[in-house]
Symmetry: C2
Subunit: 279 residues, 2 copies
């Protein structure tokens, strides 16, 4: 009886949002790990990036997107952006009557589990590092851990310029990562959704002894667990032609579509433009 | 008689705006060339950058800022941002009852005047290059000129990271500029307000034969000429303590102040935060 009541809820889509294209690495993991689910993705391409902006502004932008996704009847919201998870999740989940998860807590948990020497590095945007949120969550699980944060503001533009494997990206990565190598970390969190795209460059510099944690992967796993617990996992694949994956942006839909297709191989048919300031 | 009527107008400030900090290079030139003028500067730091966004979005953002500046009784508006000048000036000056100038036309005029072989390069953001506006204005003055545009999306993040003179910036600049060198240009427009800050790197790569045009300088000169023609130049310096230069931003006022002080040496006392979406 109770089960039946949930059935219409189960069929609802999952809302996923990011400041732009980076969150597609999270959406892709969700598609892979729970392929029965539908997704409504929003990328705030008119106001990207979030990583250099204040907590207050990031929260205001994120709140508008949450309203947009709620207007599309999503059953849960995934904040697929480290900066927005760091700055806005705690405040927004209080205002919201559906479950919401971010990428920070799953990433922090995985790092706390895999570290052996308790020395964990975090690379992320200025806003995420400034919030010290990874440190906060890791210490809840591993109180003796030491966390070393490093903001890497050039990584996002380098990734967006397509220099995923390039001597310039290597040189910049070497400069950013040098101090983390000196700290003798054994675990490094890729704390921005763009960074998995330069995973091999970062991995080569850090060396084999350092485990890289990708919060996109951990978040999809956590989402699956959470939906399962609440009885909200969709039991069968959506009907063919039912528009399983829908993409919305606040600007430049065509450019988004191109970049998105280079990350997700499903073939994104269209991305619609929305005036997000109205939400 | 007519002269007296203009006196209260003359004392009004000049409105200057940009997507962020780049327009400060224009504000600085205005301060230097017409030191009697007051300035109200707005930097849209919550939505920066504009250069990767669409014409429509840049126009919408710029319109809000024009409303904000008009609410502060400015006598004229300087669009101190190449992208906004390229995308929004023509539309917004039709909606506005005070004179408005951008940085593109003065830069184009200077380039048309200095070129000897008629081969002119333009480096700028994707949006400015995509608009082909420099080409349009230059050809009005020099119909036989050939214009070569090149978008340089990494220059703004590199400048904002402080790498004004750095091997990485040199390497990226070499890649971007190579095709312009091959085109045998003798004049290069620095078509983004951040670029004068890496002028020496660009100049070293292009060599002595190529003249660099800085639209910031040309715009201040054009503004002075235009205000003089209309009888709107302020005749005496504002009183001491009258807050001659005021700065407003849409986010992160403290960070803006720091960067601004590294460009303008006047000592920026404060920057106030404004919710620009309300205008």
């Amino acid at each position: 009886m109770n089960e039946d009541k949930l059935e219409p809820l189960r069929k609802r889509p999952i809302g996923v949002f990011d400041s732009g294209v980076g969150g597609l690495t999270v959406a892709k993991e969700i598609m892979r790990q729970i392929p029965n689910e539908s997704i409504i993705y929003f990328g705030d391409t008119a106001r990207v990036p979030y990583g250099s902006k204040s907590r207050e502004t990031v929260t205001r932008f994120s709140r508008q997107i949450v309203h947009f996704l709620q207007a599309h009847d999503v059953k849960t919201i995934v904040i697929a952006c480290n900066t927005a998870s760091a700055c806005a999740l705690e405040e927004l989940e209080k205002e919201c009557d559906i479950p919401m998860i971010g990428v920070v807590k799953p990433g922090a948990r995985a790092a706390a589990e895999v570290t052996r020497n308790g020395r964990i590095g975090v690379i992320a945007t200025e806003a995420t590092i400034g919030s010290q949120i990874y440190s906060h969550y890791i210490k809840e699980l591993a109180p003796n851990a030491t966390i070393y944060g490093k903001a890497c503001p050039l990584f996002v533009p380098l990734v967006e310029e397509g220099l995923w494997q390039d001597p310039v990206t290597e040189e910049i990565a070497r400069r950013y990562l040098m101090e983390l190598i000196d700290c003798d970390i054994d675990t490094l969190i890729l704390g921005c959704t763009h960074y998995p795209l330069i995973r091999s460059t970062v991995g080569n510099i850090m060396g084999e002894r350092v485990t890289l944690v990708n919060p996109a992967y951990e978040t999809a796993k956590e989402l699956k667990r959470m939906l399962g617990q609440k009885g909200l996992l969709n039991r069968e694949a959506p009907e063919l032609g039912s528009n399983q994956y829908q993409f919305f942006v606040s600007d430049a839909a065509e450019k988004f579509k191109q970049f998105a297709n280079s990350i997700i191989k499903y073939g994104i048919l269209s991305a619609k433009k929305v005036n997000i300031e109205e939400y």
